[in-house]
Symmetry: C2
Subunit: 424 residues, 2 copies
């Protein structure tokens, strides 16, 4: 059955249906949605939206009009109620939405609730509870080790192959795609400098990552086993873990990154449900070290339920693609990260977000940070917009991605983009 | 004017008035407050309470009965609306509360709204937004450096005297005093072990800290200067940063503590407003290194507005005092920590919580962790309940504290206590 108004093969066809939160830039009669009378800024009513091609279906309004029992989950200003509803509800809602956008009988009801993307403002789609960031690409970890610890015997720290290394980040500065990023100021000190100096970061970088969004919570004291990943994680998004390398280098020993990361983390406006990514599931790289049972995904059971995802990411600076990091190369899977994060009894909350860590493939064209792409600033990139080691004010960084979908289709992930503005 | 039913000199007299959130264990007619009919567990209606002696004033009900304009801030199940109301409102509400518990004309109204502490359940008093933990005691940092990096030239890392080192923790596992702490499991590996082993932590420790609670938010991109501390921070509490030293030691290089800390952080049920601690303000220790301007509290202006607090903490294990850490010895102040945390443009949210870091004085009787008290398990403590290096199942740890108040009084801080239960 043909979907409504989406060309064959569109990566945002009815096989995808990612979720976001939107508001109309102006009300249907053409007046501004903002009560201030200023420029359209999406200050109108927020609702859960579902993307179909270049349109957004007002899923909340559709649920109400169609008398759906899911109106209580969809006619809301955030995805959190849907996230909290659990896996069975996620499947049921997805099935209902698929019918709404494909069954001709619904067309008359649904068509007026489809808004062009250009007419809406997209908002941070969920309230972020805790934000954790991992470090799960072996290529990335080895590159960083070689750059920062050139004299070390092994570029990986001794724990790296035994556990997915992670740390908590600042959930209050997670922002939606399109939000400007103010260049952070802070302390930096080159080894030869007598004392630290203060000023805007001069080594502002990106990290191309995938973010996982927790729906179903878990109680304190009860670890979530590897096999329960799909019961807790609703979906994924693209994530840019902006990083001020100079601030980070001076501050991070012994307690880890702090101000070098906490100024901003950008996520895509669309959360792709894991149910849309069944055809993208792949086995992770072979494990070179035996894993403790709570992380072991090499058993037959686990191997039949692979934890990797084949996501093809693209990193563009000022519209020019500089890298295509392959997510399938990640050593640690999102399921292992969830099992590790909770094995000490830490609870999960609806809205918890965790980043995969920078995605870097084996080749130069697959690296997920400028730190690696320029080898810590040694080899500048030649872009149409000029030479770059790290980011300059005005630069726009955009991550996009797609995954294999059913029957040879592609599943598009929402882009995450941000522009650097000068610091104070 | 005599306060209602509080002995002269009580550390929770009307000069203190800390805030919490409580519910009655049973309704006034004697039936259980819990709709399940089970044992009284504080499942009844939550309201903001103010402690006076060994009683809790139902501040929400008092505000309603007295027709106070602050009912909208106090007749609430969490402190967040009061926190968000800002400094002027904090002072006004405190002035009103002081009148309600001291002016005889209010006695008839207020007395029935005073509940014995034994009749109420105290809850986590605010919704924690981001949680950050610092490392601000020079004694503690030097002790830890000597224990973990005995071969280092200096026990402090090179950045320590230039910035208050901190990291983000897990806000979802911040729990109120009295909550049991399940012993965490995880990976540990002694240097001589061939591979990590998994199991319950065998080096479970405490960290005696003070927590600061942010009320007034700040926008992204705008640092909060040193002098604006009192405009943003509402008050403080005691905080126990439970730490699994064996998990932490194996995981923390290079990205800092994660599972070794994220299983639980306990805070006292009472938040002491900074306005109650005017007489406890002291200058921090002399600065041995010049500070960058955004952290410099040695100017004449800053010196007249000292950033330290003279809080006398006491750490008891199974009722036996093992240490009395003096908060006045902290090198970095809470004002400096706030200025540092936001200097990169990171925003603040109502409910942000930040810990001072372990409080350790210069002498053995003033150390804020078992790691230091037993020198990493080398010198066991002889307690009435037996020898201890680290915590055993069933152990109860309680932090209490007081500060100098007006006219020779003491201002009591709410205790933070927790019992270790066996892991799964």
């Amino acid at each position: 059955m043909p979907p409504f108004d989406v060309p064959e093969g569109d990566p945002f066809g009815p096989h995808n249906l990612p979720y976001g939160v939107f508001s109309l830039n102006s009300s249907p009669d053409g007046s501004s949605g903002s009560s201030s009378g200023g420029p359209a800024d999406g200050a109108g009513r927020r609702s859960v939206g579902v993307r179909l091609g270049n349109h957004v279906l007002d899923a909340g309004a559709a649920a109400v009009e169609l008398g759906s029992p899911y109106a209580a989950l969809l006619a809301r200003p955030t995805l959190n109620p849907l996230l909290a509803a659990g896996r069975t509800a996620w499947s049921d809602v997805r099935r209902a939405l698929t019918a709404w956008v494909t069954v001709p009988a619904h067309r008359e009801t649904v068509a007026p609730l489809m808004h062009p993307l250009s007419d809406v403002t997209l908002h941070l789609p969920f309230e972020v509870a805790d934000y954790v960031d991992f470090y799960a690409s072996e290529n990335h970890a080895r590159n960083v080790g070689q750059i920062f610890r050139p004299d070390a015997e092994d570029s990986l720290t001794p724990n790296w192959k035994h556990l997915p290394i992670g740390y908590h980040g600042r959930s209050g500065t997670v922002v939606v795609s399109g939000t400007d990023v103010v260049r952070p100021s802070g302390q930096r000190k080159a080894p030869a400098d007598p004392a630290p100096v203060f000023g805007p970061s001069v080594r502002l970088d990106i990290e191309a990552e995938v973010g996982f969004v927790v729906g179903t919570p878990s109680p304190m004291g009860t670890p979530v086993p590897l096999g329960d990943f799909r019961d807790h994680v609703f979906g994924l998004c693209l994530l840019n873990d902006w990083s001020a390398r100079d601030l980070q280098a001076w501050e991070y020993v012994p307690l880890g990154p702090f101000l070098g990361k906490s100024f901003a983390t950008s996520v895509s406006a669309w959360i792709t449900p894991l149910d849309a990514l069944e055809d993208a599931r792949v086995a992770p790289p072979g494990r070179t070290h035996p894993l403790l049972p709570y992380l072991d995904d090499t058993s037959e059971d686990a191997a039949q339920d692979p934890g990797g995802y084949d996501l093809r990411i693209s990193v563009a600076v000022n519209g020019h693609v500089v890298s295509e990091p392959p997510f399938s190369t990640m050593y640690w899977t999102a399921a292992q990260q969830l099992a590790h994060m909770t094995v000490n009894g830490a609870s999960l909350r609806t809205g918890d977000l965790y980043g995969s860590g920078t995605v870097s493939g084996a080749s130069r064209g697959e690296l997920g940070s400028l730190l690696e792409l320029t080898w810590n600033g040694r080899d500048a990139l030649e872009l149409p917009s000029g030479k770059r080691t790290f980011l300059e004010d005005g630069d726009v960084v955009t991550l996009t991605a797609w995954a294999p979908g059913p029957h040879g289709t592609r599943v598009g992930l929402g882009e995450v983009t941000g522009r650097i503005t000068p610091g104070a």
